[in-house]
C-alpha cells in the first residue's frame, strides 16, 4: 500500500525534524503546568479535579492544537514542490491523493501521540495529587478525540494552503494569519457583533451558528461544561444550547473532511 509507505517515510521525517519532540514537549509541558496550577485555587471544593484540569487544558488546546496542526502541514506539499521531490514521487506508481492521505495519517499520528502524552500526563498528575478514587475519565477521553478532530481540521487547512501557494515561505506566513483569525480574531469579531447587536435577532439566530461554524469554537463548546463558562456568560451559554452537541460534533468532524477534499482538489491542479 503506497499510502502506508508514504506515511512511514513521513513519520521518519517528522521524527528527524524534531516535530514529534516539539509537539510532545509543548503539549506535555503546558498540560502539566495547568494540571498542577489548576488545582491550587479550587482547594477542597467538591468539583472533580480532573474536570478542572480538562477545562484548563481545553482553553489551552484551542490555541495550541491548531498551531501544531498548521506547523506540521504547511510545508507538506509546498516544500516537496520547491525541492522537486513531488515531481519525482509522482513519476512512481503513486497518486496525488495517496500522497496527501499518507502525509495526513502520519501527521495525525504525531498529533495523537502529542495529545496522548499531554492528557496522559494530566491524568497521572491528577491521580498522584488526589488518588484514583472518584475520578471521571470521560471528559479526558472526549477531550482526546475532539482535540484530534480539531487538529485534523487544521492539518487539512495547512495542506490546502500548501497546495495553493507552493512556496514554503509564503505558506508559513499564511497559516499563521489563519491561525490568528480562527482562534483569536474570529471570537473578538463575534464578541463585537454581540455587543453591537445588544441581544437583538443576530444574537438569537445567526450568532450560535457562526460560533459553532468555527471548529475551534465548536471544540471549546464541547469540552467546556456550560456551568463553568463565565467569560462570555449568557452569549456562549445560549449558543451552546442552540447549536447543541450534534451541531458542535458535526462542525468538528466536517471541517477535516471539507479541508482535505479541497486540498485534494488543489493538489490535483498542480502542474509540474
Amino acid at each position: 500500500m503506497s499510502v502506508f509507505t508514504i506515511s512511514a517515510l513521513e513519520l521518519i521525517i517528522a521524527r528527524r525534524n524534531m516535530w514529534v519532540a516539539t509537539s510532545v514537549i509543548l503539549m506535555g509541558l503546558f498540560t502539566a503546568v495547568l494540571t498542577l496550577a489548576g488545582g491550587a485555587p479550587t482547594g477542597t471544593l467538591s468539583v472533580d479535579p480532573l474536570t478542572i484540569a480538562t477545562t484548563s487544558i481545553t482553553t489551552l488546546s484551542v490555541y495550541l492544537i491548531p498551531l501544531i496542526g498548521l506547523l506540521l502541514s504547511f510545508d507538506a506539499i509546498a516544500g516537496e514542490a520547491e525541492r522537486g521531490t513531488l515531481a519525482l514521487n509522482l513519476t512512481y506508481p503513486v497518486s496525488r491523493i495517496e500522497i496527501l492521505i499518507g502525509k495526513f495519517l502520519a501527521h495525525l499520528a504525531v498529533l495523537a501521540f502529542a495529545i496522548g502524552v499531554g492528557l496522559g500526563l494530566a491524568a497521572l498528575l491528577t491521580i498522584w495529587q488526589y488518588g484514583p478514587a472518584d475520578l471521571s475519565f470521560t471528559p479526558l477521553v472526549k477531550l482526546f478525540f475532539t482535540s484530534l478532530a480539531l487538529g485534523a481540521a487544521f492539518l487539512g487547512i495547512g495542506y490546502l494552503v500548501s497546495c495553493l501557494v507552493r512556496q514554503t515561505g509564503a505558506a508559513s506566513g499564511i497559516v499563521i494569519i489563519i491561525w490568528l483569525v480562527c482562534v483569536v480574531l474570529y471570537d473578538l469579531g463575534l464578541l463585537g457583533a454581540l455587543v453591537a447587536d445588544d441581544g437583538g435577532s443576530f444574537t438569537k439566530t445567526i450568532f450560535p451558528w457562526l460560533l459553532v461554524a468555527n471548529p475551534a469554537d465548536a471544540f471549546r463548546l464541547i469540552n467546556t461544561p456550560v456551568a463553568s463558562v463565565s467569560v462570555l456568560a449568557s452569549g456562549i451559554g445560549a449558543a451552546g444550547g442552540a447549536s447543541g452537541l450534534a451541531g458542535q460534533l458535526t462542525s468538528l468532524l466536517i471541517w477535516p473532511v471539507i479541508t482535505l477534499f479541497l486540498a485534494w482538489l488543489a493538489i490535483r491542479r498542480i502542474e509540474l
Partner: protein, 299 residues
C-alpha cells in the same frame, strides 16, 4: 518493441509554444541522446512523457499506454535534471522507500547502493552528501527494478570523469538488458561513443534524429586533415594539395566526406616526404551547432 512513441506532439502555454510537432521513437535496448539549448523544449518533452504535464495535441505512448498511467509509471525510471531528496533521510531509507513504491524488494535497493558506489555512505543523512553522491542516489532510483524506459535528464552534471565513466557503464548494462534509454546532456563529447542515436531539438522542434554517421553525411561538414611532412618539402606539398601551412612542417586542409579517400590517395602518393596524417571527422559539437544554429537562422 517500441518503448516510447512520440507522435506529432505539441505543447503550448497560451501563445508560447515550447514543443512543436515532435516525432520520436525509442526501441527497447536503444540509447538515444536528446540534445538542445536551454529552453529548446527537452525538459517539457520529458515531463509530457512522464505524464506530469498534459500534452496540448498529438500523442505519446509509453509501452503502448498513456503517459502517467500506472503501468507506464511502473515501467519508467526517471532522473530529474537537478535531483533533490529530503535531507533528513539516509540514502538507504530514501532508496528503500522508492523500492516499496515500485513494489520491489528493499534488498534490490541495497544492491543498487553498492552498484553506484554508495554502500559506505548509505546510512548517512542525504544532507551530508556531495552533489555527485546525490546524483548517484538519483541514478540508483532511476534504474531501480530494471525499468523498460529510462529518462535521464542531464544525468552526468556534477559527476567527476571517473564517475561519468561508471555512469555510462550502468547505462550500457541497462540497454543491453533491454531498457530503452533517452538521455539529455550538454556534455557532447561523452555522448559520441555512448549512444546509438542522436536527436537534436531546437526551439521546440526536432531538427535531427539519426546516428552519428548519418548526421555527418547529411550535414556535409568538412573533414579536417592535418599532414606532417619533412621540413624541406612542406611548401611543395601544401601547394599541390591546396592546403595552408600551419607551421614549419604541418599543413592543414579540409575536404568533404565523399572526397576523403581521393585526398588520402593524393597524400600517400608523396611517399617518404609525408611523416604523419591526422584525419578528424566533424565532432558532435560541430554537428550540434550546425543543426541547432542553422535551424534557428531559418526561422
Amino acid at each position: 518493441m517500441t518503448a516510447l512513441m512520440i507522435d506529432n506532439v505539441y505543447k503550448h502555454y497560451g501563445t508560447l509554444k515550447t514543443v512543436c510537432g515532435v516525432n520520436l521513437k525509442v526501441q527497447a535496448g536503444e540509447r538515444v541522446a536528446l540534445l538542445g539549448h536551454n529552453g529548446a523544449g527537452k525538459t517539457t518533452l520529458i515531463r509530457m512523457i512522464l505524464g506530469l504535464t498534459p500534452i496540448s495535441s498529438g500523442s505519446i505512448k509509453v509501452l503502448g499506454t498513456v503517459p502517467g498511467s500506472r503501468l507506464a509509471r511502473q515501467s519508467i525510471g526517471f532522473l530529474p535534471e537537478s535531483v533533490a531528496f529530503h535531507g533528513a533521510l539516509s540514502g538507504r531509507e530514501q532508496l528503500r522507500h522508492f523500492a516499496r513504491l515500485k513494489s520491489i524488494t528493499p534488498r534490490m535497493a541495497d544492491d543498487l547502493l553498492d552498484r553506484v558506489g554508495l554502500s559506505d555512505a548509505a546510512d548517512r543523512k542525504i544532507r551530508t552528501y556531495s552533489k555527485g553522491m546525490r546524483q548517484r542516489i538519483g541514478l540508483a532510483q532511476a534504474v531501480l527494478g530494471k525499468p523498460k524506459l529510462a529518462l535521464l535528464d542531464e544525468p552526468t552534471s556534477g559527476l567527476d570523469p571517473i564517475s561519468r565513466h561508471e555512469f555510462y557503464d550502468i547505462v550500457r548494462d541497462l540497454a543491453n538488458a533491454g531498457t530503452a534509454v533517452l538521455l539529455s546532456s550538454h556534455a557532447l563529447t561523452e555522448l559520441e561513443t555512448r549512444t546509438d542515436r542522436i536527436a537534436i531539438m531546437s526551439k521546440g522542434k526536432l531538427v535531427a534524429d539519426a546516428n552519428l554517421e548519418q548526421l555527418r553525411q547529411n550535414a556535409r561538414l568538412p573533414i579536417h586533415v592535418k599532414v606532417t611532412t619533412t621540413p624541406d618539402h612542406a611548401d611543395r606539398v601544401a601547394h599541390e594539395l591546396g592546403g595552408t601551412r600551419v607551421n614549419g612542417q604541418s599543413i592543414s586542409l579540409t575536404c568533404l566526406q565523399n572526397e576523403k579517400v581521393a585526398v588520402l590517395g593524393q597524400i600517400t602518393a608523396f611517399g617518404e616526404v609525408i611523416k604523419d596524417v591526422d584525419v578528424t571527422p566533424s565532432s558532435l559539437e560541430q554537428l550540434y551547432r550546425h543543426y541547432s544554429v542553422d535551424n534557428q537562422e531559418g526561422m
